[in-house]
């Protein structure tokens, strides 16, 4: 849930869960400095009765009761419903459906494929889309559809249109940019609000844009990093989900940094995806809240 903070929110919400006989496994809250309240509660229903389904508890009734739980809100006020302004989401634990986009580099894609093959990704990779065909052999080893959609001889809009047509086949919940090296237009991004996750090969906001390792070398930094973030309209500016770093020294050329950085990139991306796919990430303005 997220919405404006007020006294008693935890009490009211946990009361609903208690009355429904649900057992809280993990609970975490956060109130932003601007007074916005975020809460994530992981709970489990009791043993299912004979003949009952796994979600035998009444989700609709639970959500409805949650919506009206804050006193004084959601009551009929002169014919209209006064809203609490709080959004509740009820996410059963299940794998998310994703499409992965890549260009030529294999390290992040390879990481995702291996995890997927051994059921460690918390997601189903429905397809891989690339503007080059060089990673097709790798993808085919894992029996996943590979769509080669070249950007050559196409305008940016035509290219993205072609990708969107492919996306329409799979209807992914998330699009993962696993080193997709082309900038996406706002038109494309708007199809997947807060549902595109990118791995950027620098410790953002240092070195936005192209060739971050070249920039890092020239600036003579002693630490490099990688950043997994949601993509919004401003390049490299979306909410940061996870970051990690690695020490380098003056002996590292820009190419050495790129090689070393790959290990950081793929692990950071995997960690960020795990958080997102387990519904642990909330968006607060341009910040990602991980509960």
């Amino acid at each position: 849930m997220d919405g404006p903070d007020s006294k008693g929110l935890i009490y009211h919400v946990t009361g609903v869960l208690f009355r429904h006989g649900l057992n809280i496994i993990h609970n975490d809250e956060y109130v932003s400095p601007s007074g916005r309240f975020f809460m994530r509660t992981e709970f489990e229903a009791g043993p299912i009765q004979a003949g009952g389904a796994a979600d035998a508890f009444d989700s609709a009734a639970l959500l409805n009761e949650l919506q009206t739980t804050v006193p004084g809100f959601d009551e009929q006020v002169e014919g209209a419903t006064k809203s609490s302004g709080i959004t509740f989401r009820l996410n059963p634990k299940r794998k998310k459906n994703i499409v992965v986009m890549v260009t030529k580099e294999h390290h992040c894609l390879g990481e995702l494929l291996i995890r997927y093959a051994f059921d460690e990704l918390d997601a189903n990779i429905l397809a891989v889309v690339s503007n080059y065909n060089s990673l097709q052999p790798l993808v085919s080893k894992f029996g996943i559809p590979f769509h080669y959609i070249s950007h050559e001889d196409r305008t940016r809009e035509e290219h993205e249109e072609a990708i969107l047509r492919t996306m329409a086949i799979y209807e992914p919940e998330y699009v993962v940019l696993a080193k997709y090296m082309r900038v996406l237009t706002a038109g494309f991004v708007n199809h997947f609000p807060n549902r595109i996750i990118n791995i950027h090969h620098s410790f953002l906001p240092a070195f936005v844009g192209a060739n971050p390792y070249r920039q890092a070398y020239e600036r003579g930094v002693k630490i490099i990093g990688a950043t997994a973030h949601f993509v919004n309209n401003d390049l490299d500016e979306g909410p940061i989900i996870a970051q990690n770093v690695k020490e380098v020294d003056h002996r590292h050329t820009a190419a050495d940094m790129a090689t070393e950085g790959k290990d950081v990139e793929k692990i950071v991306l995997s960690q960020a995806l795990k958080l997102v796919f387990n519904d642990r990430v909330f968006i607060s303005g341009n910040r990602a809240i991980v509960l």
Copy 2:
């Protein structure tokens, strides 16, 4: 609070706080695999009424209501009180009173003194006790009593007796071993159950005992570390509060590791003390729960 887990605990406790008009600032819970429930709730009372003290809200009434909050417990059962088994503690935010024990090394002590001088320690250093007098000049710069209690010509018991007599003057809530290099007997430790915090100069449980950097050098490790932990009867075996590490390489002699390690030791100790002094650390068997 901590005690056996049961359904509805968060709801019942936050309900008490809500009815008392208290505002939860931060809340965190943990259920151990063995079914023990830990919860730390940071809350603030509203603005104090005219004539009221800062703790004008009725702590005794609050604690009493908390004790009886879990339904079916703490009721009169055939003349006796059936207890919920839950312990509640109400800690107003305030500085803790401590005594620091040292031997000859200054780095951890210096760190604590500087923080104390600038009101960043969340504690009052009542006195420093040492079995050598070499750190007296440093301590005296900060206007803190220094007790030089030599272990020479004394049995271990006599020495500890002398220290305990000094402790009796100050009645510290916590004893901080800031590189006190002598083993304490169970007799001494039992005076301060879970109230002695030690900094050990290795990444425990690697290299327990004496000369950990020498051991680390000989084992050829590539990372060294430091561990802040509570002291119990088994040497270097108490619950770990905080740890940190630093990379080394084959060029580091045991002495180099010791020098490098000092930076880790003093920061880890400070971080652990901050957690303890802010009542964020719970003990669960031999593990420290940080909420």
Copy 3:
């Protein structure tokens, strides 16, 4: 080269290289506290003459001149050759031949296979050997021979004999234990002195032996780690090549630690292998010198 330290060693050796017209790319030395000198010099020959091979410079002559470069040594002394005690090795840059041994876990093996598939391993994986057949499907995706050699119904010696017969086919320069979960006998290890590299799932020497994550959980550590090391006769006691760590907290169960630890294990193993395969690791007693 490695051997007893004496004044002028760098001068004498670089003099030989200079007179042969070789260009030093990178040079690193180390003198151990016990007075042993290690030096690794990376150099390149000039452009090859018409008709000449890549190693047209005379390796044998170079090695011979190096052997006799320290004045006063290697001279005929009363009919015998007085040796400098220095060992010189001349390693052309090339991929090493390896066999990988695994049990059931895929994460380290998957990492090696992906790197190998994209020519990033500095090694040829000749075969994978396992005491289970569960990883065969993964290995077969990459077209590498997989040998399933069960330990069931075999004594330890019979099992190792069977593995050695398979090794004899491939004659690997290095054996990589990528989560091979059985202890190897001294008899086996002696076939590959300082040529077996293991990844241990703890920050050695903490938690030697079985179930290190279970031990780590019970000790309540705040940081877990992984260690890549050479295997010698004492379990988990060989020279450490690389280590890395990751923060955990009280919420991590032993199983969570194991999951988190896998990311550390596979990266540490890869980094260690890169160092070994590039001839950057020297052994000094029980310590690994990385130049």
Copy 4:
């Protein structure tokens, strides 16, 4: 030494040292991608003869021989000296003389004072200069002159003139900005080329300029850092000597990040100073080479 790379440099230089009977303790070289050669050699003279001073070996003769060591250079060519373009510096191991500049924050200054008091700084703190007087009590504990030079009612130039007059008294080899929060003019900086070291409270080049922790909070980063660097004319743009980082999460306000960051800042500054004061840092364009 540093200068243009050419074949045989290590050989020629170590030959001079060998002929002078000097023992190399540590040697490190680096060739930049643009072909510049850097070498740092740590050596010790043998036991001093009766009546000889500690630097009884002839430094002038050694430097002269080094200058002429590269064949074909430094010869008389038509009446002029053809230079090798190589600069040699001979630095006896000794403490550097420094002045520390601060504003109001004590953590870096406190760190330096404690290290200085226990002879761990590799430098003599001749004086502390501040534009506020709030840190005078701390400095006076350590018996070091404190110069309060307010910037109020003074133009920037007048203020810097006053500071320079104070510097003229002490003639420091290095000026350490231990959280001096005013921008220095090029006029001031030019008095101390590559001799001013600053600690910046961000992981540069992220968050240049004012309020980096505020910027970091608003960007929602998951890691904060600190950077020690030489000061040149461009604000926050000089060669980076050392950096380090620390994890944060969404709960950290800008103020929390500032508090946490202080531990990183003071350690990074100390580490950078240790490198500089031991003559281990070379400048290559805008990059710092640490040998």
